[in-house]
């Protein structure tokens, strides 16, 4: 075929790098990707500069797989830039789709984080109180750092996104479905999550019967029966309200689903659906009984919103005591 190969870009914003590894997890099929696409930008594995992207025509990139949440000015800059240069922008992985682990920072804020990281944590020695600044003057000139946001956002909260590929990281099989769909041009309607719309329970081979949970256990507290539903045994599992496509790998090895594939179609708030499911199967008829059972489930919001806090209806913890804060900066010396 004399046809030019479609151009592919991959980028990481606020993420751990696991999504990049997941792409390599395609093993020999990565060669199909290299064969089908012309990779024009992938800072993780090849030497590209942002200027290379800026020099491109608008819409020159055919597909951009964007992983990572948006938590600082640099992430936002690249999100806007790659949106402008890409025909199809895919939110790749749980962070860009739902905020994920970086998004748990929305349970706190910038000031509290900087206080802990640059001052209070036991391993920090910082007598001069040095905190990253957006701009610092040194003899050689001005040094700049990207501004650090109070609230982590998802990619779709910053720019329009065409497709979402869930997972922390997306399973090789999910990536394959997406790559094949893109190569063949048989794409679902824009705005879709690519993958099947079933729950983890549907793919989980454990035996399920009526649930009446008397207390919850942490994973280290019991050795679960290998064939029975983990939730029935009191182990937290988000599989009841989480999209599958992963093959229910975690519950199969005795660890409850953490919810990384996010909500199913039509769900506005992933955490609320997990909450409903968990609360419905406890063995309590009074508020006191319910409270006693929930005392054995520490950090419920952390469980429910582990992967989708920025993408949830409330997005973050209230700043201040649930009362309105003045809009704008609260500290005089604005950190980065």
């Amino acid at each position: 075929m004399s046809k030019q190969k479609p151009k592919l870009a991959l980028y990481w914003a606020s993420s751990c790098g696991g999504c990049e590894i997941a792409v390599l997890g395609l093993h020999e099929k990565i060669l199909n990707v290299a064969e089908a696409f012309d990779i024009v930008f992938w800072p993780c594995v090849m030497d590209f500069k942002y200027a290379d992207v800026e020099a491109m025509e608008d819409g020159e990139i055919d597909v951009c797989l964007f992983n990572g949440a948006i938590r600082n000015d640099e992430n936002a800059h690249m999100a806007h830039l790659l949106r402008q240069k890409s025909k199809v922008l895919v939110a790749f992985g749980a962070c860009s789709y739902g905020g994920s682990i970086p998004g748990l920072a929305n349970f706190t804020d910038r000031e509290a984080m900087f206080q802990w990281i640059y001052s209070d944590s036991p391993s920090t020695v910082n007598p001069d109180g040095v905190v990253p600044q957006k701009s610092t003057d040194v003899p050689e000139g001005e040094l700049r750092l990207p501004g650090f946001w109070n609230t982590v956002k998802t990619l779709a909260q910053v720019v329009p996104v065409d497709y979402f590929l869930p997972g922390c990281p997306p399973e090789a099989s999910s990536i394959e479905i997406a790559v094949n769909a893109i190569v063949s041009g048989e794409l679902p309607p824009p705005g879709s999550v690519i993958g099947p719309d079933v729950t983890v329970c549907d793919e989980c081979p454990r035996k399920k019967s009526e649930k009446k949970i008397e207390r919850f256990y942490r994973p280290q507290e019991i050795i679960p029966d290998p064939d029975t539903c983990l939730l029935e045994q009191g182990l937290f599992c988000a599989g009841i309200a989480t999209r599958s496509g992963c093959g229910a790998k975690c519950p199969q090895v005795g660890f409850g689903c953490r919810g990384c594939y996010g909500p199913n179609e039509g769900v506005l708030d992933h955490g609320a659906k997990i909450l409903t499911g968990i609360a419905s199967v406890i063995d309590a008829m009074t508020a006191e009984e319910a409270e006693a059972i929930f005392d054995t489930l520490p950090d419920p919001a952390g469980y429910f919103y582990r992967f989708h806090l920025p993408d949830s209806l409330l997005r973050r913890k209230a700043r201040g005591n649930g009362k309105r804060q003045p809009v704008g900066e609260t500290s005089q010396r604005e950190p980065a």
């Binding site: 948006i70 000015d73 936002a76 800059h77 999100a79 806007h80 349970f107 501004g147 946001w149 109070n150 609230t151 956002k153 779709a156 909260q157 910053v158 720019v159 329009p160 769900v267 506005l268 708030d269 955490g271 609320a272 659906k273 909450l275 409903t276 968990i278 609360a279 419905s280 406890i282 309590a284 008829m285 009074t286 508020a287 319910a290 409270e291 929930f294 950090d299 419920p300 919001a301 952390g302 429910f304 949830s312 209806l313 409330l314 997005r315 973050r316 913890k317 209230a318 700043r319 201040g320 005591n321 649930g322 009362k323 309105r324 804060q325 809009v327 704008g328």
Partner: protein, 155 residues
């Protein structure tokens, strides 16, 4: 509506069809006075209340949410309100972690005959939320994106 003492909260009420909605009717037809703060939504049973409804109300600008249904043991569907008790207990713990005061989201019971209790509950909850002030949830994330083309780029 401002902070200067004249603040009137907006409270979204989820009232069960069989008890509390009728209690509200009774309070109305009996010409009982209570603060006009409640925007009531009739649901068939408190067991139908998805926590998403509560979160949506708070996100969309409500200062509080009041859920009311049949007394335990008197549910039209036998045990819908027991489900509500369980969900509410867990929802309240979750909301606490998100920095939302307990007074803002409350669960109470009123039978179809308890118009007085209904009116008193609305008055009491209104006063508690008035003390707390406006919630104004979306103010928790002012735009921080220097590259945003316009306000509220893409929701």
């Amino acid at each position: 509506m401002s902070d200067n003492g004249t603040f009137t909260p907006v409270i979204v009420g989820f009232l069960c069809n069989w008890c509390s909605y009728r209690a509200a009717d009774l309070a109305g037809t009996s010409r009982m006075g209570y603060p006009a703060t409640l925007r009531d939504i009739r649901i068939m049973c408190t067991g139908r209340l998805d926590p998403t409804f509560v979160l949506r109300a708070l996100q969309k600008g409500a200062d509080g949410v009041l859920i009311m249904g049949c007394h335990p043991g008197q549910c039209h569907y036998q045990e819908g309100n027991y489900k509500a008790i369980r969900r509410f207990a867990l929802l309240r713990r979750t909301l606490r972690q998100l920095g939302i005061a307990d007074e803002r989201v409350q669960l109470h019971w009123a039978s179809a005959a308890e118009g007085v209790q209904f009116a008193q509950t609305v008055a009491r909850v209104t006063e508690q939320i008035r003390q707390l002030g406006p919630l104004d949830w979306t103010h928790n994330w002012p735009n921080e994106d220097p590259y945003a083309v316009e306000e509220a780029v893409h929701e």
